[in-house]
């Protein structure tokens, strides 16, 4: 019985398309610990941010016409978008921190560090401040 001599390319979480560094090299292991609070804060912001209402108002500009015009679905997608946009915007200062740190590295390779994740978390928390006001009003109304 013969084996196929053609090597199979690796497919998995550490797959490296476009020659990027593998996942474990893209970040310090300790940096992963900040992912959970980061995502939770962004989720909270999506649920209560005043910008969610603004996105619902302008739904005609982004809501896919092939989806059913259900208000609940529009609200859900708006919340998802605000959460994701929070992470994207707050990720800019974190990327700047990584670029600065990469210049100090011998190989010049950009990695996510605890400091850059901290910047990301701080940025996300700052963007969530308007949502805190909405949450306080909701709690007072009850």
């Amino acid at each position: 019985m013969t084996q196929d001599a053609t090597p199979t390319p690796p497919r998995g979480p550490n797959d490296t398309p476009r020659g990027d560094a593998p996942a474990d090299e893209r970040a310090d292991a300790v940096a992963y610990q900040l992912l959970v609070p980061l995502l939770l804060i962004a989720l909270l912001n999506g649920m209560h941010s005043p910008f969610t209402a603004l996105l619902v108002k302008f739904a005609g500009g982004w809501y896919p016409p092939f989806l059913p015009a259900e208000p609940a679905l529009v609200l859900y997608l708006a919340q998802l978008m605000v959460s994701t946009l929070t992470l994207m915007l707050a990720g800019i200062p974190a990327a700047v921190v990584e670029h600065v740190a990469a210049r100090a590295q011998a190989d010049g390779r950009r990695r996510t560090t605890f400091a850059s994740m901290g910047a990301w978390l701080l940025g996300t928390a700052l963007l969530t401040l308007p949502a805190l006001g909405v949450m306080r009003q909701l709690l007072q109304a009850q």
Partner: protein
């Protein structure tokens, strides 16, 4: 009167470019699930060539922890944000094209 496409070119032209890039990015994301990144097919290469400048910019402003394939979706979302921004700015200035008839 001018054709609406010409009269409102400042809306239609950037909107068309952003929309074309948005859908090409989504197409590249879906294709990337089934084909190798260095596939030599000309359609795949066209997808990569068209979208790579946007992906490169998004990669620069995104933390390195984000997986490379996820960058395609983030780039598409940034383009959606730009389209929404264009829509809102023109709406604020009462410059959006009007439906006639």
């Amino acid at each position: 009167m001018d054709h609406p496409l010409i009269a409102y070119w400042y809306f239609h032209l950037p909107n068309f470019v952003l929309a074309a890039l948005f859908w090409t990015l989504l197409g590249r994301f879906v294709l990337a699930l089934f084909v190798p990144e260095n596939w030599d097919n000309y359609i795949w290469r066209a997808f990569v060539r068209l979208t790579e400048p946007v992906v490169r910019i998004v990669r620069a402003i995104t933390p390195a922890i984000v997986p490379p394939r996820m960058l395609l979706l983030l780039a598409a979302l940034w383009l959606l944000v730009l389209r929404l921004g264009l829509f809102m700015v023109l709406a604020a200035g009462d410059l959006l094209p009007r439906l006639e008839g």
